[in-house]
Symmetry: C2
Subunit: 527 residues, 2 copies
């Protein structure tokens, strides 16, 4: 640097090219940026619908609100860049959006195309997509292409982009049971997810410590099972706000109601649901997983799942099924009797399998595709009733992906992306090296790996530290799941791009922690 203080202009061009070339995260599948640059001015900028598509596009409220949302993201500093340019350059610039399906009123799902094309030339950018979801992705990319020079003047380079995700499922899990996350923390996370093109919010909404979901059918679950019956719950309208906020950003919301384990908080509002644990011949006063030997359990789960599957529109639904502790079941005489009756012998995995199969069938009859944690797959000989398995355990997760897909089941990879663990920020490079398809298997098997997920468990995470623990490390997973693997193998090459992207996250108000010593032109100010 010091040696270059005399060669500022050269340096500046370098820097700007750097900014330009490196400003899109995750990296588009095909990206061609030329040196040619066009000025932009917030006062001479417009969004348009493609002429030919005008009829289709009319009243696409989803895209309209996206335009409103992205204008300040494209021009973060509305005072700069105004009148700075010589008036001769004050040309109008328009972003013309054309899409081929009218799906503005629906929710995104596993089949939604996110493909888009973006061509930036003099005075206009043309964004083409099959669906509104693709248009949203293209809009995000466009917002990242717009740069500001040292004078604050906005500009964009001549660019050609052909883009689509490598994986259909790119999720982030938030745990709102171990700590309650205020609605605003969830909405802010959805905003940041859209910037990295994440498209699934896996809402691990309840667990042992608390039950914040306010059920219409069983209000006692939250009034007795939440940390606080008023201040620490998600009302139906809270859930609707999350669903709407996510939908407007092309993000699916997949709720998880984990059972039969991880249900201590359920028992507070729903007597006779959990298994009474025994000490010798009498109840110990403590409770275990949901009682799989009682018909009441299935009656309750049917009614409860009927409600929640109707509240959450996504076709996928997460049923959990992880870490079931058998000791309480083993202690309970009714459960033991049931085991005998069913001929399960001493194999309690058969009992868990029996429970899960019932729950999965209930869910299927409610027209939902079930996701379960890998435990359900690992412990059961019969897999026919399963559809999607989430791989979360340490060790050889690639081996597990091979097994799951060999069994003809869809797989989601979570194991390498447990970001709730406090580790050096530079570990982002490890997350970046993960490739979910790096196992020996047929093309059919690879196709069954539908994507991956970043998990932010809540033991030590709440609104105070959620954002810096999630961002920018989650961006590494986002790029692995979206971009062309062959172009994004090197963490070293990605580093300056991630640095630049982290700076734009700060500017957008995301509390993304630093990756190394250094600075951003616009530091985080929301202190």
């Amino acid at each position: 640097m010091a040696s270059c203080t005399i060669c500022l202009p050269a340096l500046m061009i370098l820097v700007l090219d750097l900014n330009t070339v490196e400003s899109v995260w995750p990296l588009p599948q095909k990206l061609a940026i030329s040196e040619e640059r066009y000025p932009l001015s917030p006062t001479h900028f417009n969004f348009y619908y493609g002429e030919d598509q005008a009829s289709i596009m009319r009243d696409c409220s989803l895209l309209d609100s996206a335009f409103t949302r992205y204008f300040p993201l494209i021009f973060p500093d509305l005072t700069s860049g105004n009148g700075v340019l010589p008036s001769t350059e004050e040309k109008a610039f328009s972003l013309v959006v054309t899409m081929h399906q009218k799906d503005c009123d629906g929710y995104p799902n596993e089949g939604s195309s996110e493909r888009y094309q973006l061509n930036v030339s003099a005075g206009q950018a043309v964004l083409n997509s099959d669906t509104v979801w693709g248009a949203l992705r293209g809009l995000e990319t466009f917002s990242q292409l717009v740069q500001q020079d040292e004078d604050g003047t906005y500009f964009i380079n001549k660019t050609e982009i052909e883009d689509f995700p490598s994986f259909q499922y790119r999720g982030i899990l938030l745990d709102t049971s171990r700590h309650f996350l205020p609605l605003k923390a969830i909405l802010n996370t959805l905003d940041a997810m859209a910037y990295s093109k994440f498209n699934v919010f896996h809402w691990h909404i309840v667990d042992d410590p608390s039950f914040p979901y306010q059920s219409r059918t069983f209000p006692d679950l939250s009034s007795k099972g939440a940390y606080h019956p008023m201040s620490h719950i998600y009302t139906q309208s809270d859930v609707r706000r999350v669903l709407t906020h996510a939908r407007l950003r092309g993000i699916r919301v997949i709720p998880e109601f984990d059972s039969p384990g991880h249900t201590q908080s359920w028992g507070k509002g729903q007597p006779n649901l959990l298994t009474p644990c025994y000490k010798g011949s009498s109840p110990s006063g403590t409770f275990g997983p949901i009682n799989p030997a009682s018909a009441l359990s299935y009656t309750f789960m049917s009614q409860f799942l009927k409600e929640v599957t109707s509240v959450f529109p996504d076709p996928y639904f997460h049923l959990g099924g992880d870490e079931v502790n058998f000791s309480c079941w083993q202690s309970n005489p009714d459960v033991r009797a049931f085991m005998q009756k069913m001929g399960f012998g001493k194999d309690y995995t058969k009992l868990e399998s029996f429970y899960m199969e019932n729950i999965v069938n209930i869910t299927s009859n409610l027209n939902k595709t079930s996701i379960v944690w890998q435990d359900v797959f690992d412990y059961h000989e019969r897999h026919s009733f399963l559809k999607v398995v989430e791989v979360w355990r340490r060790g050889c997760y690639l081996c597990e992906l091979r097994k799951v897909t060999k069994a003809g089941l869809q797989a989601i990879l979570a194991s390498p992306w447990y970001l709730d663990q406090p580790v050096p920020t530079r570990n982002w490079a490890r997350y970046y090296k993960v490739w979910p398809l790096a196992f020996k298997g047929t093309e059919e098997q690879k196709k069954l790996v539908i994507g991956g997920e970043v998990s932010m468990w809540g033991e030590y995470v709440d609104a105070t530290n959620l954002s810096p623990r999630l961002w920018p490390r989650a961006c590494a997973a986002a790029e692995r799941l979206w971009s062309d693997e062959s172009q994004t193998r090197s963490a070293e090459a990605a580093f300056p791009r991630l640095q630049a992207f982290r700076c734009s996250l700060l500017r957008r108000g995301v509390r993304a922690e630093p990756l190394s010593p250094g600075h951003c032109r616009n530091e985080y100010r929301g202190i």
Copy 2:
């Protein structure tokens, strides 16, 4: 809990006693809280100066501003507790403050007494202290004693407290070079420090990556050495704001201008200060530590130290002296010649010693007591010129404390409290187990251990993650340095108190991260 829903009253008393007994952090040296409880109302509460001291106390602006600051901390929810109480209970309550020295206009220093007595009885609390600094500590304690019941009614228990710190020096280091910390982040940290009774802000203000301090004498240091000459600097008025904010909270500000190493950023604005490194017989273009062989270095340092020692009023001044890399010095012919001339042979620690001794002497002549990192002590036979040594290296830091104090030097312990490292939050228990006097040595030696310090280095820390990484873990160190060791040995016993204190930090707007699954009545809302 569930089993106790029928015994709410009993439970409530339990909980409230818990709150009350466990609400003071760090634990006072002598604390007696009785069951007897008095209601408080923000509309019937007053601060008074002790009658007899009225003359002394008149126009103690420092205490006046403390009263203004603490009123909303004592009554965080001004809408609650009002009129909730039966009018019969609407008794006035006053906090009467008496101190025996008039020192309202000065700065705290190493000799400032922080001792105070606090007696809470019906209708009034009496706070006695030698100095205004002790009054501030007592005020903090009083604010923590005031509780709110389920109805939001404020109350305080009959209490007798006799309190003083175990260690005179209880510091937190912030690094504003590796990442720039906006002024507000520093001021917020000072606020939170006062809540835990920390009393030293060790400002590691400059280092290799950037030089944000705007010098009056050498403006180029920041205009060329800062990340940005305008947006990433601390002006003289910024520094004054920090000094004032700290003083009002009884916090000393000890700046560190680390040399001869860690000075890369100095070189940008001050040519001929750093040692030109050589490759063979010609300069390589890179630079090493400050050039100890050049008279210019000492001239510059004299002028620069003259300025900064006048800007920062504290009698102590940190000169750094850590991690000096000798390879560049060894490569430089002038330095080698100087070594020969001085008869240092090949022992470059002698050269570093020569430099440090000069710098320490310059600082002494400016009437400041120098603090240096342990390296300066470790590498030099002669210690006579040293006064205070900060122990930071891993390994047997107690051995180092023994050596340093055996040499008759004051010691500050930093090693076990490097909180910039991302580790599980539960590690607070390790920080809590540290006892700086747990080495074999005489009473005189123990007296020389003046305290300890929490370090928050900036490689991976900036305004986005500073608070949750610092709080509540730093509170563990705060209690070790303030409270009676024999009463605060058990991390298990401290845990519920720390949980409760973390909740009050959240309510006061400090982004303190969670210690375990659970919740606070008032979660962090500043999202």
